[in-house]
Symmetry: C2
Subunit: 198 residues, 2 copies
């Protein structure tokens, strides 16, 4: 690992623990094993480190995003159970990536003082997901696979639970019991399935 990478990874760990403001350049360089002044050979300011972390996440999103077309074709073939299982699996993948969890935790902390972080969180972790799920439920209703409802209402019922889990376990617990969380998500999917059954 290069010094620059070491700085970035250390910053991610420390920012996720205490937030950007409560971590000093001194804290980072002490952990990395260099002097403060040496850091400025790799990043021109402390702020640039944070921006590099944000860009890391954006890159991650860009590579992970699937085209509208592909999504549309996938949905056409899926049953409600398959869709809910897929959602749960996506969440599980997130739970298995500690570095990604750390970066989202930084966004969580920073969103109170940084409008950019707040907007990013809102868009990528909430509103886009709600819109997507809304489309899926709409198609399923039109195909007569589930009970007729306002699809946006059903999408909120489905996804609000995920946000609750994020809030209560990922943000509020130091150590997450992944098995327990997966169980709760499973129970939610079951409840929703039965509520949507015709």
């Amino acid at each position: 690992m290069t010094t620059k990478e070491k700085i970035l990874e250390t910053a991610i760990t420390l920012f996720a623990e205490r937030g950007y403001n409560d971590v000093s350049v001194r804290d980072i360089t002490r952990e990395v094993g260099i002097k403060e002044s040496s850091l400025y050979n790799h990043f021109s300011s402390k702020q640039k480190i944070l921006e590099a972390i944000y860009e890391d996440l954006i890159k991650n999103f860009e590579t992970a995003t699937v085209s509208e077309e592909v999504i549309a074709r996938m949905i056409e073939k899926m049953t409600p159970e398959e869709f809910l299982t897929l959602s749960a699996e996506n969440f599980d993948r997130y739970l298995g990536d500690p570095r990604l969890i750390k970066i989202w935790r930084i966004i969580s902390i920073e969103r109170f003082r940084d409008e950019r972080a707040n907007a990013f969180f809102k868009k990528y972790l909430i509103d886009n997901a709600l819109e997507y799920q809304s489309k899926v439920f709409d198609i399923m209703m039109k195909k007569g696979l589930i009970k007729a409802h306002d699809p946006r209402v059903v999408a909120r019922e489905s996804y609000a639970f995920m946000i609750f889990i994020y809030f209560r376990y990922l943000e509020m617990e130091k150590e997450v019991d992944i098995k327990e969380v997966k169980q709760m998500v499973l129970e939610h999917m079951k409840f929703l399935s039965s509520a949507l059954q015709k």
Copy 2:
């Protein structure tokens, strides 16, 4: 309003906007209209102001808490619809109290660096409410008023939505459209009612 009260109210407003760390004693005293040194005649440190705010909230909780017995008797008489309507009304009352919203927002921000704030939030805004709702649904199931389920699962389905609303609208928006939020809560209650109907 005494100077001490002015300091407290100003601190609540500023801490809710930017968090404890990003508000200096200078910021507070500038707003109040006194010099920094004068503040120390009313609070022995900046930290004590935050603690006074926490105590304010705790006092609020103590006066608002109803005994287990009263709750038990209330539940016995309630239909599921009445209970869900009551929950929505409690939430509306919160939405109508800007000072209380500010204080909870401070707790929201501070929970990432202050374990006490985190524990407080977890207990009073989430776990106690979940436990309470769980008891209510259990009684209703035993009385045959709603479909049989694990009452804890139903309580999560019911309350996770409230936390989602808190997260997405109270924490993430500068200006909350209260009418829109009330509408979403209403739609949630309707969905849940129909899902629990025998």
